[in-house]
């Protein structure tokens, strides 16, 4: 067995702050270094709770994710799931695409989009409307939702420029996208339309 943790142990603040949210290297370099050295212990510790530590050294973030359940495991989930409406899910997909394209394009890795860009991006996929103002408001509420999920970060205090947080890469991975695609296809089938592959 592991040593029981004492109050002075560096492990406690690490696990606690991971339980509360994503840990960024740039927020606290000292914590980050401690996390790197105590990684194995943190992993063991959170495994008991049915969680796993996901740590991306290059991007500089660490977070806890639900451990995939094994056969016969009946652990209640600690990490809640957030329901995604169709436009929000689509926005996430489009943002994920921007990240992938930025990786392929070289140069600046930070992806910064203006509010207009986001509106423009989503507009193609929303029903035609003559009410421009309403469309902008709707997109605004989708943007806020994604912001709450933690994948868009407003820059410089103003609400007209957003950075796409790279955390999105781990959440919207190939598997998640396949899942979304399947769900979209199911919807298309209920409409009875032929959809090109």
């Amino acid at each position: 067995m592991k040593q029981p943790t004492t109050a002075g142990d560096a492990l406690s603040p690490l696990v606690i702050s991971l339980m509360k949210g994503v840990m960024w290297r740039e927020d606290n370099e000292r914590h980050w270094q401690q996390l790197l050295s105590l990684q194995a212990r943190v992993r063991d510790h959170v495994a008991v709770l049915g969680l796993r530590l996901e740590l991306d050294e290059a991007e500089g973030y660490a977070l806890l994710r639900q451990r995939p359940l094994e056969e016969g495991d009946e652990l209640p989930r600690l990490i809640p799931r957030r329901p995604l409406s169709y436009p929000v899910s689509l926005l996430l997909v489009l943002l994920r695409k921007k990240l992938a394209e930025a990786d392929g394009g070289g140069a600046d890795r930070r992806v910064v989009l203006r509010r207009e860009d986001l509106v423009e991006m989503l507009r193609h996929f929303l029903p035609d409307t003559t009410n421009e103002a309403r469309l902008v408001d709707q997109v605004g509420s989708h943007i806020n939702k994604v912001k709450d999920l933690g994948f868009l970060r407003p820059l410089g205090g103003r609400e007209d420029e957003y950075e796409v947080v790279r955390l999105l890469n781990t959440f919207v991975d190939a598997q998640k996208l396949e899942e979304l695609l399947a769900s979209y296809r199911a919807h298309a089938e209920t409409l009875g339309k032929e959809v090109p592959e």
Binding site: I79, P80, L84, S85, E101, L167, Y184
Partner: protein, 480 residues
């Protein structure tokens, strides 16, 4: 190697090359003077959007009021234009900042430097350039010589030349360069040194291009996995092992050695003290050009390191293969979404894990606390009978700042500038220290007054009891 300068090529160049477009722009004089001031005159690499926009705003304002400039848009809009299709600025978000930053592109810099050359050069030093060509040639010939005997013979020849020179010196024959020769060499040195600084920007840009090239090649790769990995391994150090990378490394190692820096400092110092050079009033910034090299080189060094690191990550086959799969799936998703554009699904289509476990701490929430209600008791105020001296209430000192400002303005009508001590001498302080402090406050609000912390002034006045008081304050000068 050389491209033919036919009409079609030049036509295309004029339409597409940012440097040419800058020269041909309608407002070229305005834009060039602004960019020169903002970036080149101060050897600045990057400027934050806010700082650059406010400078441009000033510049625009000046141009509109004096020169009747026809540029109606806001500064930010121009910056975005110039960073966009014009290709004169590079806009980017540094890793540690939420604000966009700008840097001049190599093309714009080239155009601006070319324009400055039109003004600068006073005489054409041919001899020193010829010597440089000669030296370059002989170093190449010598460096590629494999025959040890030939090399020995060359060294022997040089030793003989040195012996001869030493003989002449011993005989009291000291050859000194003529003033013209000195000036000529100095000019060559100065322009090379400045060009070197410009090269960094170009270097950084070509590293960016190289990086993009490699990425594009990988993205469009269609061969098998084995071949891909082989290709990846070959490209791993694509940046640092390119010609650019190697040369830059060598330059950097050379410059970084403390001996070299010491040597450069001393030699520049020495040269600047020569009479022939002093007469030409050389640009004082040249004196510390090697520090500017260091700063610029360091910035380039950081860029190269960052790009290499990112490229390595991108080449990580797991990331790469996943990215490719992801783009494919995204394409299908987009097609689906477009197909049911006018009848989108309602309700929840999927679920996404939250970024952290939900830890509910109900007891951490603050408990209800009854709001505080102020109870007011009504009490009648009655006239007191006590006889207290109420003088204290009326003796509060009130300094009228408007009066102080008028004092200063009156005196400034007679003279261009005036120190605070002179003002006080003309209008003695009526409220002592309080008034003096008010004067300082007036001075700090007024943009035309200057505080000189280096020198101080002594100010004297009589207090109400007739006692002489004095204060030592920094020198304050008001100007018209």
């Amino acid at each position: 190697m050389s491209t033919p300068l036919d009409r079609a090529t030049l036509q295309k160049l004029r339409e597409q090359n940012p440097a040419w477009r800058l020269l041909a722009a309608t407002h070229a004089p305005f834009i060039i003077s602004f960019l020169h001031q903002a970036f080149l005159a101060s050897n600045t690499r990057t400027v934050s959007q806010q700082a650059l926009a406010s400078r441009l705003e000033d510049h625009l304002h000046e141009g509109r009021s004096l020169g009747g400039l026809d540029l109606p848009k806001r500064a930010e809009a121009y910056l975005d234009d110039w960073a966009g299709d014009s290709g004169w600025l590079r806009k980017f978000y540094p890793m540690d900042s939420d604000e966009a930053h700008f840097d001049l592109t190599a093309a714009a810099e080239r155009a601006i430097v070319w324009v400055t050359r039109l003004l600068e050069r006073r005489f054409v030093g041919t001899q020193s350039r010829l010597l440089t060509v000669f030296q370059l040639l002989s170093s190449m010939v010598e460096g590629s010589e494999v025959d040890p005997n030939a090399r020995l013979a060359e060294l022997q020849r040089r030793r003989d030349a040195i012996d001869q020179e030493m003989e002449r010196l011993r005989a009291g024959l000291v050859d000194v360069m003529a003033a013209t020769e000195l000036r000529e060499r100095f000019q060559l040195m100065a322009s090379t040194a400045r060009e070197l600084l410009a090269d960094f920007r170009e270097l950084e840009q070509s590293f960016h291009l190289l990086d993009r090239d490699v990425r594009q090649r990988i993205a469009t790769w269609s061969g098998g996995r084995g071949a891909l990995i082989a290709d990846i391994l070959g490209e791993r150090d694509a940046l640092s092992s390119s010609d650019q990378g190697t040369s830059f490394r060598a330059f950097w190692d050379f410059l970084m050695s403390p001996d070299r820096q010491e040597e450069l400092t001393q030699k520049l110092q020495h040269v600047f003290e020569l009479e022939a050079i002093r007469q030409t009033a050389p640009d004082p910034r040249l004196r510390r050009i090697h520090y500017d090299w260091l700063a610029a080189g360091e910035a380039t060094q950081r860029t190269v390191a960052r790009l290499s690191e990112q490229l390595r990550r991108y080449l990580d086959d797991r990331v790469f293969l996943e990215n490719r799969r992801i783009l494919e799936v995204i394409r299908s998703i987009e097609q689906q979404a477009l197909a049911f554009r006018n009848s989108p699904p309602s309700g929840t289509v999927a679920e996404l894990d939250d970024v952290a476990p939900a830890v509910e701490l109900p007891l951490e929430r603050p408990l209800f606390a009854p709001p505080f209600v102020a109870r007011l008791t009504q009490q009648l105020l009655e006239a007191g009978e006590e006889d207290v001296a109420s003088d204290g209430l009326f003796e509060q000192v009130a300094v009228d700042r408007a009066r102080l400002r008028t004092n200063i303005q009156h005196l400034l009508q007679r003279q261009e500038r005036i120190t605070l001590a002179e003002v006080v001498a003309q209008h003695p302080l009526q409220h002592g220290l309080a008034e003096l402090v008010s004067y300082l406050a007036v001075a700090s609000e007024n943009r035309k007054s200057v505080f000189d912390e280096q020198s101080s002034q002594r100010i004297e006045w009589n207090d109400r009891r007739g006692q002489t008081r004095s204060a030592t304050i920094p020198l304050v000068v008001f100007t018209r």
